[in-house]
Symmetry: C2
């Protein structure tokens, strides 16, 4: 008995391309497990390619590798129009065509939509598609889950047909573990974690006495931060992850109800201060304040971590003092760590730790999610 | 759309009874998820009770609670014979009847067998049942997975229809995480962990200078050990867990091919030395040797842990020196910890840590497994 899973991939940036490569290299493993992943369409932000006949055909692995190479070079999917191996669609057509495909396939086999984009454009389409019978959704994209509660409720209305492990901690088993705990009736009363590799690195490095500005500049040149490090320092990426976890625990909140501490003041924001000025003149002004806070924490025997904290009705993101010898306090480098407290893990938390970023790990998490829904495609 | 999952529970010791209580208290959560767990039979080592009509009836929650109370008091299931609420079977009849039930149910809904016993008696039946279409197996019992390779291969021949999270680390997401990593094509090249709460406690306590004999005696009086602590100190329970993990990674080995270090010499074994003599005269003789080993480790800046190590063709269980500041080296108390090294987690491992024993946690892991196979019961 073979599960054949038709896949439609949205987004072919680093994660999407890595996912295609993983799918190809895992064919022997999946074949042993009785699963066949059939890629039938791929889209980037402007174009979409699909197999000539959605019911019977699939993209060959060499076409997918060619597509990866093309996208790595910065070209558009549109350049595949003349290959003779696919149909190409653009703009408004894309969403319509995907819904078409899903409707066609739902009688036969179903369709899995994999969103590896970082776009908010996919939200409306995804929440429509999830209502079609046998249509599953796998997300690395955080946006669909952190938009309005209305969209969120639509997306998770069929909980067995959505997976999104890689939205928090990349491939680390965070979402699957929380779902297991909830299913077994073990109430989670507190989650605290460091969910940004960048901020984890920054906070553990400043602890040893290096000035904040120096650590951030070093992190930037090591490629640990976004091109503009304020994208990390704002805490908004962590806030999105916190929102996903809080909603999973049943909190009826939105992104703007989360208390988020930015590591730079508004007057140094990207709309006010050019990047170069922020790096040269802005950052060093922040050194003293961080140093003072570290000293206070240290005099309490604690260290500072940039954490996400969810507890009762609280959902906060920012710097907190944590015990030096807790899993969070011991964190070094860019690992993520999550402590989960529940009835079963009351005094000592359940701890999950490891690399929480990177295309390879993120794509591996997406692929594990796809394999996790295979029973819905078994005939 | 509701998944109705008929359950047959084997073993109503502490874990089995806790599972029944969890099932009852989780009904509102499962109902929201569209799942109904229907307990149709329960067996202990000698008897089995089943609903009057396997196709249509299920045990009421108050009957299950009565059953739990009865078993807690040490009585036999046979005492329910006159309740008028069940059929009762004994001895040889049991296995035959279970196969009967599974055959009857496979056309209609399927059956999930949950093995919470600690018995080797269930192995033959389980490996027969797993071949019946729509028959699923959930294990807390380690014996079926640590018997011969022939039985192992039979049991896992339908990998989607077997779950056994609670065989290693109780409810900790160890097996599910390893399966996710394997499915995503990320090769695991090393697993090292402390998988015995008892031995974890003993090794971290002796580190602080307390004599081994004193720590073991204290652990016994705290209820951390089996009634005869040699059952823990032999390492055989850890060896079974190591075998389960090694086989999951593809090692074609048996229990007797694992190098197991016992913390007492053969001449102090249960067949040779009575328990009382072991505790009073045997244990103290071992203090010096352990102390010497601790001192050597300490002079290398390391600590000793009783670990399971799986690496290439190696599968070993015993005392190892580990770095003081590794997740294993920092372990205190009775938590389990597992470090997984793979391509994605090459330098820094993926770490899972938390309580790895206890009826509550173990039963929660079993229940999460049952919920995990629900898609196979959806109609």
């Amino acid at each position: 008995m073979v599960s054949s899973i038709p896949l439609f991939l949205m987004g072919c940036g680093g994660v999407g391309r890595q996912l295609l490569r993983h799918i190809i290299s895992c064919r022997p493993i999946h074949s042993k497990q009785g699963v066949r992943l059939r890629v039938v369409g791929v889209s980037d932000s402007k174009s979409m390619v699909a197999v000539p006949d959605i019911l019977t055909s699939e993209f060959h692995d060499d076409f997918l590798l060619k597509l990866c190479k093309l996208k790595s070079s910065g070209a558009s999917l549109h350049e595949l129009a003349n290959s003779g191996e696919c149909q190409v669609f653009s703009g408004q057509e894309i969403a319509m065509k995907v819904v078409d495909f899903a409707s066609t396939l739902r009688e036969l086999s179903g369709l899995t939509l994999v969103d590896c984009s970082a776009s908010a454009q996919t939200i409306a389409m995804l929440s429509e598609l999830v209502n079609l019978e046998r249509c599953c959704v796998v997300l690395a994209n955080k946006k669909p889950l952190t938009s309005s509660l209305e969209y969120y409720d639509k997306l998770v209305s069929q909980p067995r047909r959505i997976r999104h492990e890689s939205t928090v901690g990349a491939g680390l088993p965070v979402i699957s573990t929380i779902n297991r705990i909830i299913s077994s009736g073990d109430p989670i009363f507190r989650i605290i974690g460091s969910l940004s590799g960048t901020l984890g690195y920054v906070m553990s490095e400043v602890e040893s006495g290096r000035p904040f500005s120096q650590v951030v500049t070093a992190a930037k040149s090591l490629g640990y931060t976004e091109p503009d490090p304020r994208d990390d320092l704002s805490g908004m990426d962590v806030a999105r992850k916190a929102l996903i976890l809080a909603r999973l625990l049943g909190h009826r909140i939105n992104l703007d109800s989360i208390k988020v501490e930015s590591l730079y003041p508004v007057e140094m924001g990207p709309d006010v201060m050019p990047l170069e000025e922020f790096l040269v003149n802005g950052l060093p002004i922040l050194d003293n304040d961080i140093k003072k806070r570290i000293d206070i924490a240290s005099s309490n025997g604690n260290v500072l971590r940039y954490v996400c904290l969810i507890e009762e009705s609280r959902c906060e993101v920012g710097i907190q003092e944590v015990a030096k010898d807790s899993p969070l306090g011991r964190l070094k480098g860019s690992d993520n760590v999550l402590e989960i407290y529940s009835r079963c893990y009351r005094e000592q938390p359940l701890v999950i730790q490891g690399a929480g970023a990177g295309n390879d790990t993120t794509a591996a998490g997406v692929l594990a999610d796809i394999l996790d829904i295979q029973d819905l495609f078994r005939h």
